[in-house]
Point group: C2
Chain length 347, copies 2
């Protein structure tokens, strides 16, 4: 299978997406890859696989070495003097983390221009990108989520909180803009930081030492679930550790938990995935509090697609690519306008 990895984007997670794409290059063995970079200006560039090094982008060398593409009906094209040449691939893979990739834009572009793709569809993107909508969606399915308070940038900051709390921009991933606040006097600064990234933030109680479990997967003809991992947490990740987190390519070992808990986590995952996330490989992060499973967040495009959680990642890609949801074909026959014309005696 030939897969076109779409990465970059006008996103706070632009650089992380580059790291993810390089990692995918290293872990995918059975498929051929093309790389299509979306630069900060939202222009598309075809990047040669052997040029896929982070410095190509940070040095802006991609402007010279990459080939500029346009997105048109059915795919990406190189425009030349003698017409357009189509970039051939079987399927695109949306690997843009954050804005553009996870907010529904890329899904919309691919559906409008009729490009087959692996990744969350428009609704799935919006529901998982916005932490409030994630909670409302989970609650509607009977999946528990952590209590929260939504704060707008224009709201008065006169609320009482029980500390510690965790403050998150409403619409970002990868811990960007997130702070743990231990007392009232740290609150203002943490809110200011979060409001740098979004006009709305969400405040949740921070539970020290909470048990966290990650599970990735997709539904194709059947459920294809990864192992469950208990991620190693440190209160603050420096840039190198964050880098390593998105560059993960070594399979991790499964957490040792009771079968009944494992099954409950898997049931929650399946409920959340539902029909909404068809076509995407997602990772859900769960908390367990007093033996109850809570959804923390949905990563519809997890770092390096959570390849390290799967036994045979190449096969997962193939399965999801061959079981994509399809757009309904809407036939437009102008029956309605023709009837009106007839009624008016004009047809």
């Amino acid at each position: 299978m030939k897969i076109a990895i779409i990465f970059g984007g006008s996103s706070y997670e632009h650089e992380i997406s580059i790291v993810s794409a390089i990692t995918i290059k290293n872990v995918v063995k059975k498929h051929t890859l093309e790389f299509i970079f979306v630069d900060s200006n939202r222009e598309f560039y075809l990047i040669d696989a052997q040029d896929m090094k982070s410095k190509l982008f940070s040095s802006k060398e991609y402007l010279k070495k990459g080939k500029k593409l346009t997105l048109q009906k059915k795919g990406f094209f190189i425009t030349g003097l003698f017409g357009n040449k189509k970039i051939e691939f079987d399927i695109a893979l949306n690997l843009i983390h954050g804005r553009d990739g996870e907010d529904g834009k890329l899904a919309s572009l691919f559906e409008f221009f009729d490009v087959k793709y692996i990744g969350p569809r428009i609704e799935a993107s919006v529901i998982s990108f916005n932490k409030l909508y994630t909670k409302l969606y989970a609650q509607s399915l009977g999946v528990k989520t952590i209590d929260y308070r939504l704060v707008d940038i224009n709201d008065k900051r006169d609320f009482d909180l029980t500390y510690p709390v965790i403050i998150k921009p409403l619409r970002l991933g990868s811990s960007i803009g997130v702070s743990i606040v231990k007392s009232q006097d740290e609150l203002d600064y943490a809110l200011d930081v979060a409001f740098e990234f979004d006009e709305q933030v969400i405040i949740e109680p921070f539970i020290n030492g909470i048990k966290e479990y990650n599970l990735a997967g997709c539904f194709t003809q059947e459920w294809c679930l990864s192992i469950i991992e208990e991620p190693q947490k440190e209160e603050f990740l420096d840039f190198e550790k964050k880098y390593l987190d998105f560059a993960r390519d070594n399979r991790v070992s499964e957490v040792n938990i009771e079968n009944s808990l494992k099954e409950r986590i898997e049931e929650c995952f399946k409920g959340i995935y539902g029909s909404l996330f068809m076509g995407a490989i997602i990772r859900c992060d769960f908390f367990v509090i007093d033996d109850e499973v809570y959804l923390n967040e949905i990563n519809p495009i997890p770092g390096s697609l959570a390849n390290y959680l799967f036994d045979d990642f190449d096969k997962v890609l193939e399965e999801v690519a061959t079981n994509l949801p399809t757009q309904k074909n809407i036939k437009i026959d102008y029956l309605y306008i023709n009837n009106i014309q007839k009624a008016k005696g004009k047809a």
Copy 2:
């Protein structure tokens, strides 16, 4: 102001959008209009204002008379031998009802390609296009909605209902696929009809003679609200009446209700509009049951933009066009990758 009306789309409401666009042509007096048609194949065509008649589209004459456009960075272009010519306008107006227009696709295209537009943003589209998400969103704001049952196409149909009920496809507007079901023996057929249009449907109690009130508006520097209308309802609208409904251009008279009810309806509207619908002129349809206000649905692109509810529709367009929400400018400085390079001794 020069406004480009975008209409058509790959949507069950394609023809209705054409009717809407022709109506807008007739009611807008102070602004210059361009017309960009999205055909059923999702190709763009520039249509001369004087050609804006429904028969141009039903006869496929637009293929000859229209000029084919491509959407690229910053706008729509006519591609020619001597380069691309940009179609000049101050702002686009999304008038595609249903799929493509109201599901987040057009919003995504305009944001990605950096085209200024009037219409719902991506999140606003998804929340209002899906009747379940509309309810979850309204509930989270404390706005009441009608009880419902969500049914998937694969679900067993062994549920008990108290009749009459109303059955609606989860994601359509304009009453398409909607049935009122008076007894159990009509249920299967009505579900089959609705499942023709969507794989999920919503069932609500149907309350005969319920009071319905419509209110349109937007927030710019201040609230710009229309009068409240009590729509004339008939149980079944034939095609000509539906046509008339989207072609409305005569100002209607305000309903005669108590001030306190009017204020409560307006408060609900403002809550729903919030910051989510900034940039759009929306119409909310409310029910009043036992003196309580319920949200029925949000039309983020109402038929002919509900022009008939406003005193000075030209001014509303101008107000919303000059108070659009803006995309955050994300600066990508490669600080993170540069730091990694330094740490590795490569920079």
